[in-house]
Amino acid sequence: MFKKPIGWNAKTIKEMLEESEKLIEEKKSYYGIERLSLKEEDPFRYERAYASLRGALVSARETALHVAASPIVTEIGELCFALYTPEGDSIVVSTGILVHVHTMSEGIKFMIREGYEEDPTINQGDIFLNNDPQCGNVHTTDVQTLIPIFWEDELIGWAGGVTHQIDIGGITPGHTLVSSIQRFDDGVYYTCRKIGSNDKIWRDHMISAKKSVRSPMYWELDEKCRLAGNLMIRDAVYEFIKREGIEYYKTFMREAIEEGRRIVIERVKERLIPGRYRAASFMDLPMKDQAWVPRARIDRISNHPMEIVVKGDGGFSLSFDGASAGGANAFNCDKGAMEGGQWVLLTQILIYGDKVNDGAYFAVEKDYPLGSWANPGDPYLSYQAPWGNLIPAYTTMMKCMSYGLFSRGFREEVVPGYGFTGDSIQGGGIYSAGPLKGERWMLSTFEISGQGLGASAVRDGLNWGYAMWNPEADLGDVETWELFQGGIPYLSRKVKPNTPGHGKYRGGANYAGVAYIANSEKVEFFAGREGLVFHGSGGMHGGYPNATSYRLIATNTNLEEIFQNRQDYPISDTDPNNGEFERFLKADIMRIPIGTIYPISLENFDIIHFSESGGPGYGDPLERKLESVKQDLDEGLYTSDIVKSVYGIVADYDDNNKEWKINIEASTKCREEIMKERKEKSLTFEEFWEHERKKLTEERLYESVSRMYSESLKLSSKWGKEFREFWKLPEDFQMEVK
């Protein structure tokens, strides 16, 4: 049946998207715009117009988060909203988890390309739901609600909101499922599905959706939260149009995006240096002894090599050429997730405070190699925990840009990277006693939102206060997390010594928590973080990477008896060699150097320790000021043995004054000894080259490492050529996996 097209000037929305893409390609500007007419003609009106929409979106988010029930959303604001053009390009965004602004853009474009205008049709009042990583999302746990906005008969835009769920009905309870290896383990999938009309969510959808997850109440209220925010945005657009006129709105939306694109170019020219930037990061996924499905039982380390080329015109390209392969694991990323990660970091490094929109997306050329973890090209793989690769991989972008910022003189902007947004402890159980007996509880502590940031070239890194995907990072209150994970109350949250990356300026520090299982049965516990490799691309200019994670779990404990006798119990693991767990507990105590573990079963009074991440350091640690080291010791950020071996500082604790005293003479001698050791234990480059090359040619690599090289060499001719040339290997050299 004939239906009038919903695009402008009798065009279909698909035709509008095609025209937009053609103009960007041909004219190298958004929608082929040559001049920012509105800004030039009346800058005050233009800026006021932008600010009014920005304010409306921030307001929508602040209001909507109180509609939600999920503590992740209400406590730390794990949601964001954005306004899009009819073609799906973001014009203006709220605060919050901005990594999702571009992901929703891809979702809208998917619907347009798939012909949703004809079937299932796009009408005023329709509601669409998306959480499919193949359509722009990061992982199924991030759920997007999108509504079209019409003015008379024309589609004039979309409002989108995303929240992060506690649970998505996957293979295990949790939000980032490390045991997922295929699409069918990832939980419920909504592939841009229409779920409502006339501004109401359909009843059959809600019934079905609530049965598909383990946290139905949170699901329902989070859906209402996203819809409420979107409707507020739609109202704000109508007020805008009534005030400024529809023609102004149509011109405004496109010029605001073009201005966003131009701002990136201008900032690049203002702050960086043209040239080639490179860094690499890695992530471990030790599944050989853990995975349930035979084909997933391999140990894996991912290669995340990044090259950024800043061009003479201020544009730049970003490539992950050389990345290792995707596979039967949860860490695969689709392009939408990669775009989101790139976009959110750009908004933090270069374009904060200005027109933050998809202009940043259009300013960058991207290469996510097909077959790699960054673009596996297989929709049936799992995309449940792409953060496992995405988060460490994008430390390289921060580091690359920091080289340029440093050379340009903006040392205060240098940040070599950030800590992994883990320790992502997860799982859940069923209450076996108390008023909630028989009900489920979910372990989804989102204090992962407060990690250590890397040091800059002029100061130490931010402690416990950074998440790459949410510029408003907040680790939240223990009491709030306990509201929904009452089966695992905290015994402590305490500063964890030795988490920051060492350096003249140390990275940000962080906390560790200790918690125990209470009043529960059928408890599953798992976690995700790096453990066998350092997170990200490490420090800069002589700074070291931040410490890795490990697992510490005590089972068969006498904690119940300790409580009854009011005795001391462990509240930290300051020295993993000689810890409080051993001192205070009778228990089976397990410490393993692995951060990512498959689910295990826990019983009441079992205890877990989990440590959040520090940030990487900057500069030679021997150049750190004595008073800064003293402060680190006084605040418990480092222990005296590490301070001595890394910083060359000898200190004694003054029990009377409750502070550390630096022994200047002993420290001078200690630093001299470290310098002497540097001379004695270092190799010339030629000696180093021989030493390393033998590891490759004499087959001395561990299987995860040889697998990584094998995959990267097969997937990339460019990276492979440079690898072979560097080590003077035959042109046809390939790596065999032992």
Binding site: N577, P593, M675
Partner: protein
């Protein structure tokens, strides 16, 4: 905001308090920052060669006898800036558990079978210039190769100091 030279000198030395540093981070950037920093650094280094670009806390690309070379503030010359300066360093490879546990508590460092630490030192002053955390056998990473001529000519609108 316009940050004066004295403040920038104190910033480089790490002596700014947070309430002094915060406005510099969050404010609009001074458009002549590069020139001010170059002036400070040229006065600070003990060598006479003209700095073309600060590359690192201790390394500079300088003009010397018609060449562009990387030079450490201790005076050591690493050679052509187009060749990775790390290939002229002294390098300590920490590829054993014991050597990694000198820097990190047990369980809080990498497993050397999966990833090693490489410390790159200046061959003269033995300042630690870079640390790489990479799997065994990974090629040395060439972090930054600037396009000096494009920077000066197209972005700053003048010739590089060695072509003036």
């Amino acid at each position: 905001m316009d940050v004066d030279k004295k403040t920038l000198e104190r910033m480089i030395e790490g002596n700014l308090k947070w309430d002094e540093l915060k406005p510099i981070i969050s404010g609009r950037k001074d458009q002549n920052r590069f020139d001010k920093i170059m002036e400070i650094l040229q006065e600070k280094v003990k060598f006479d060669e003209k700095i073309l670009l600060p590359l690192h806390e201790h390394l500079y690309i300088v003009a010397k006898e018609g060449q562009r070379i990387v030079k450490c503030d201790c005076g050591y010359e690493f050679g052509d800036y187009k060749i990775n300066w790390k290939t002229k360093c002294r390098i300590r490879v920490r590829d054993s558990i014991d050597s990694i546990e000198e820097l990190y508590p047990k369980f809080m460092g990498s497993d050397p079978k999966w990833e090693e630490l490489r410390e790159y030192f200046c061959p003269k002053c033995f300042t630690l210039l870079d640390v790489e955390a990479v799997p065994p056998g990974y090629p040395t990473i060439f972090n930054f190769l600037p396009d000096i001529d494009t920077f000066y000519e197209k972005w700053l609108g003048r010739n590089p100091p060695d072509k003036e």
